[in-house]
Each structure stands twice: as C-alpha cells, then as structure tokens.
Amino acid sequence: MALAMASSDKTVLIVEDNELNMKLFNDLLDAHGYKTLQTRDGMEALDMAREFKPDLILMDIQLPEVSGLEVTKWLKADDDLQSIPVVAVTAFAMKGDEEKIREGGCEAYISKPISVATFLDTVRKFIG
C-alpha cells in the first residue's frame, strides 16, 4: 500500500507514556497526513490542549501521576476544550473497561494491541 494521503491540516494530540507506542501512533498518523503533538504527561496534555487546540486527542489511560480518565474529565469540564473529541487508546481491555472509559467522557475506545485498520478508521471518523 502506498502513501496516497493528501496532506491534512488536522492536528492530533497523542498522550502516551510508552515510547514505542507513541512512535507507532505518530508514524501511522504522520503517514496519513495528520499533524501530531506528543506528550507522555497528563498535566502537560491539558496545557497543550489549551495552547494548540488540537482536532483530536488520543488518550492513553494509564499514565504517570494523573490518569488519562482524569485528564479527560478536566478536558470535558472546560468550556473551550470540551468539543475536542477524545479517543481512549488503552491496554485496559478487561471486561467492563470500555464501559467505564466511555462513562468517563471519552468519545471512542480502542483497545491495545490495535489493529492498524481499526485505528485509522476511528481517527477518520472524527476528523476525516
């Protein structure tokens, strides 16, 4: 499959504390023409969301210090930021995890390990 993507001006903020997974998501998005912002820290994610107003946020749930669910709660409580869709990408894939995460305010849920196709479909669903 060749890279046949037209360059997009959409920006995705990736919040992920595992370097390899960050690289995977970054490369996948980059290959499909999305601009990316990266952070491995929940607090910083909130600041970056305020500063850069990304079009989509990919949120790992288990993060150092504050959890992705907490960051999502803060995002959804902020009038300026609550419209940004948050997609949880998490290795919490036990029974009940998806429900819990959706109840926490995330618009979508992708379990790790991802399927590349599903991952890209989900991103496209939100920002084309």
């Binding site: 060749a2 890279l3 390899l20 997974n21 995977l24 996948l28 290795a91 919490f92 991802i114 590349v116």
Partner: protein, 567 residues
C-alpha cells in the same frame, strides 16, 4: 414472754404473719401461775387479804394478753400492754414486800434483759424505760410508808427471797437458752440456704455479681476466680469499673443505669481485665432488684457469661474473611495488571508488523522479509489469544467469569468462526465442512460461544494431518443446542482422554513435541460449556479421529456454585 418474739424476728419477717406462739404461751403460763399461786396461798396460808388478792388477779389477767395476741394485727399492742402491765405488777409486788429492798426487785432487771434478747432496739429501750420507771415509782412511794404483808414475816422472808431470786434466775436461764436454741436453728437454716445459694452460683459457671447502680460490688460468685483470677473478697467493696477496660466502662454504666431506670433487664458485652493480665469478654445481663437489702435504691444483679472463645472465633473469622477478600482483590488486581502489561508491548509488535506487512511506507523488496513481517504479526495475534485464554481460565478458576447472555444467531456466529480458521485449514490442507441448522431462541454469552467454537475448530485442524477433514455440525432439540466438531486426525489415547480438559495440561508425550499449545483451549471450552449449565463429551481413539460434542441449554442455567464461589 417477749423472748419468743425474738425468734421470729431473727428469721426475717415471714411473708404471712402468724400469731406469736411463744408470747401467747408465756402469757398463758403467767396467768396460770397467778391462779395457781392463789390456790396454794388459800390452801397453805389462808384466805388472802385485798393486797394479795389484787396480785393474784393481776397476774391471772395476763392470760387476756394471750387472747389479744391471737389476732396478728393486735400482736404489738398486746406485747406493749403485757410489758407495761408486768412492770407495774412487779413494782406493786415490790411495794408490798419492802420497796427497794424487796426480793422481787431483781425481776425488774429482767425486763431490759428480756428486751435485749429480742435484739430489737425498740424492745431494749422499752424494757429499760419500764425498769427505770418501776424503780423510780418505788423510790417515790417509799417515803409514804410501805405496806407490810403478813407473808413476809422475818422467818419466812429468807425463803421467799431465795425462791423469788431462783425464779428470776431460772426465767433468765430459760430465756437465754431458748434464744440460743432459736439462733442456732436460724444459723443452721441460714447456712443451708447459703450452701444452696453457693451451689447454685458456683455451679452456674457464670459470674454472678450484685452491685449498686454506681458499680460498687456487694457480692461476687466464685466464678470470678477462674474468670478474672480474683477471689470474691478481692472484688467485694470495690467498683466493678476497676475491672472493666476503660473503653467499655460507659457501655456497662449505661446498662446499669438503664436497668434501674426502666426496671427491666439490660445487657452489655464488655472486656474485663484479668488479674494476670489480658482481657476476658464478658456478656452481662443486668437485672434490677429492689429488695432493700442495701438500702431503698435499686441494686443490680448482673450475670456475666465468658464470651472470649466466641469473640476469639469471631475475630478469627473476620480476619480470615478480610485476608481472603484482600487476596481476592489482589488476585483480580494482578490479572488486570498482567493483562495491561502484556498488551502494551504487544501493541508495538502487532502494530509495527502490521504497518510493515501492509508496506505502508513503501514496498519491501525482499519477499522473505515481507513474509516474516506477516509471521511476526500472526504470532503476536496468537500470543494475544493465549494471554486472553490464560486470563479467562484464571477468572473461571477464581469463579469470577461472569456470563453476559444474549440472543445469538448461531449460524452467523459459526460461519464467522469458520472464516477465521479457514486460512489455517487451507494452509494445512485440511478440508472444512459445515452442516448447520438454525437454532431459534438460543441465548448464550457470545464471546464464550465464539471461544468454544474457535478452540474446538483450531484444535481439530491442529491434530488433523494434510488431506484430512474437519466437520462441524449443529442441531437443536428439546431445549438443548448441540454442537459437534469431528476430525479424522491422530485421535487421543484412552489414558490421555481422562486428563483432557484439565487446565495447563496437554495430553502428554508425542503431542507436546509435535503440536504447540498449552492445553488450555479444551479446559476453557469445558468451563464455558459448564458455566452455561451444559456438558461436554469427547469421543476418540488413537488413529480414529476425535469427535467433541457440546450440549448447551437454549438459555443458560445459572450455576449457583459458580455464583457462590464468586461471592
């Protein structure tokens, strides 16, 4: 006379008052002796003059007090009257026989002594007063001259004196003897009562206490020794709160106050401090008593039972439960962590290999590399499935796997599963055939059912050599859904057949080397089938192929044992 009254007083007031027989007998004898003296006087001395006649009639009239005392209500009046009358009578006799020098004077002294023997302060005071009054009366009368009676001539005077003094001595002796006898009887009765009481309180094994509302101990049964290591003497007079753990004192104090205030039994369980250190749990039942034995305020009789063993058992139980709960929580936590930690690196393995096999960033020029990236991806997926199996099995074993039953289209689900394994079957050159009948109204856990199918199919394909056939068939009948997977592969030996379906065991020997797998698959299948309330049958012989049949109820039958295990 009054002497006999003392007996009944000592025994404690009987519930039903009866006539004081001692007093009545005394008065009758007094009356009789007056009459007898009159007869004797008349026979030996001659017809009496007025002074003597008055004395005889007076004494005889004491029989009237006996009649009066027959009515228990007039008992006190009769006794007071008899005492006053006797005092005046003796004073009269003395005044006739020499005043203060009269031989009858000692009889006046008998009066307070008689009162003293009753041990009633009132009787003593009355006796003393009467004696004093009699003596004063004689002293007052003396200056006006005394009557001299012919019977007290010089010669006879000595005999009379001796007789009267002897009479007084005999009377006093008899009185003392009867009191002593009565006291001895009372003591014996008391001791018997005490022995019975002791036997009851000791035999009960419970700690029996009598205490004031403020907690002052008045009585403690012998059970205090084994329970607290203290004798009753060490307890009595002290406050019960000295022996109760400070934190529990309020509980006991409330119980004592409530029992007295509400007039009904209360209970309290408190920790008591043992003399040798340590504590004993004691459950008290507190009963209010108002017998006036220690004043008119209510006392409390507290019966305490040692509940230390029960408490220890309860504590042990609570600790064991807490431990089990903690262990359960940490096991669940461990499973969740394990799942998370394994999935994180798998994400990179599966994700990057997926990108590579899709040649997302450009073509792979070496065909082998493209093949390897596909193999890495497939192996990653396989590893993910295994992790899923291990976690599922752990949950089933822990009784924590909860079914989510929903309506299932069996044909659609089975077709999908066949598609999933078709690639593998084709690669192994194993033919897949299906003979599916729609099962209307099947309700099952979709994920579990899919696991059952995938495991049975991949097992069958795995153990079937190239050119073989794997057949899947379903049917439904009489509330049961039936699903069978048959292959014409290597089959299973009799010995191994028995071991199948036990987690973490693949049938031994040749298989282990020839075929990969943890043996978990079939265990999971069996567990899932049984969780639905169904049954798994395996039919096989070496070289003859294997047929596995799963029978599921159309609607899962709740397995209470699993539900309980999950509690």
């Amino acid at each position: 006379m009054a002497v006999f009254r003392s007996i009944s007083v000592m025994l404690g007031a009987p519930a039903r008052r009866s006539p004081d027989r001692g007093f009545i007998l005394g008065q009758l004898m007094g009356g009789a002796s007056g009459f007898a003296a009159f007869i004797l006087y008349a026979v030996f001395i001659g017809f009496p003059g007025w002074p003597e006649a008055i004395a005889f009639v007076w004494l005889t009239s004491h029989a009237g007090f006996a009649v009066m005392a027959l009515e228990p209500e007039r008992d006190a009046a009769a006794k007071a009257g008899a005492l006053a009358s006797l005092t005046l009578f003796i004073a009269y006799l003395c005044s006739l026989t020499g005043g203060l020098a009269s031989p009858f004077l000692p009889w006046l002294l008998v009066l307070p002594a008689d009162g003293a023997l009753t041990r009633q302060p009132r009787s003593i005071v009355l006796g003393v007063c009467c004696a004093a009054f009699g003596i004063i009366l004689l002293g007052l009368v003396a200056p006006f001259g005394l009557m001299s009676l012919p019977l007290l001539t010089e010669g006879d005077g000595a005999i009379i004196r001796v007789a009267v003094a002897l009479g007084a001595a005999v009377y006093a002796g008899t009185a003392i003897w009867s009191v002593t006898e009565a006291e001895r009887n009372a003591r014996a009765r008391e001791r018997r009562g005490a022995l019975v009481f002791q036997a009851v309180t000791e035999g009960a094994g419970d700690l029996i206490l009598r205490l004031s509302i403020a907690g002052e101990l008045r009585f403690a049964s012998a059970a205090c020794a084994p329970l607290l290591g203290l004798t009753a003497d060490e307890l009595i007079g002290r406050s019960v709160f000295d022996f109760v753990l400070p934190g529990d004192r309020a509980v006991l104090a409330d119980s004592l106050n409530d029992a007295a205030a509400m007039g009904r039994p209360t209970s309290a369980e408190v920790r008591m401090i043992k003399a040798a250190g340590g504590i004993a749990w004691v459950e008290f039942r507190c009963d209010p008593v108002r017998d006036g034995a220690w004043g008119k305020d209510a006392d409390i009789v507290a019966v305490g039972r040692d509940t230390s063993i029960r408490r220890a058992f309860e504590d042990q139980l609570a600790r064991a439960r807490e431990y089990a709960e903690r262990a359960n929580v940490s096991k669940s936590q461990f499973l969740a962590n394990m799942s998370h930690e394994l999935r994180t690196p798998l994400n990179a393995i599966i994700g990057f290999s997926d990108v590579m096999r899709q040649e997302m960033f450009g073509a792979i020029t070496v065909p082998k590399y493209k093949e390897y990236s596909g193999l890495i991806h497939d192996s990653g997926r396989h590893l993910l499935d295994l992790i899923g199996d291990v976690l599922d099995m752990s949950k089933v074993e822990a009784g924590k796997f909860d079914l989510t039953p929903e309506a299932v289209d069996s044909v659609e689900l089975i077709s999908k599963c066949i598609e999933t394994v078709r690639v593998t079957a084709e690669r192994k050159k194993v033919k897949l055939t299906a003979n599916l009948a729609a099962a209307q109204g099947l309700v099952a856990d979709k994920r579990a059912l899919k696991q059952i199918l995938l495991n049975l199919l991949s097992n069958a394909i795995k153990f079937t050599p190239a050119g073989g056939t794997v057949e899947i068939a379903t049917a439904s009948k009489a509330g049961w859904f039936w699903l069978g997977v048959a292959d014409d592969g290597v089959g299973i030996g009799e010995e191994d057949l028995a071991r199948l379906g036990r987690p973490f065991e693949q049938a031994s020997g040749a298989y282990t080397r020839e075929h990969e797998g943890t043996g978990l698959g079939l265990s999971l299948v069996r567990s899932f089938v049984e969780l639905h309330g169904g049954r798994l049958e395996i039919e096989s012989a070496l070289g003859q192929g294997t047929t596995v049949r799963a029978f599921l109820p159309m609607t899962p039958q709740v397995r209470t044992d699993y539900a309980e295990a999950a509690e």
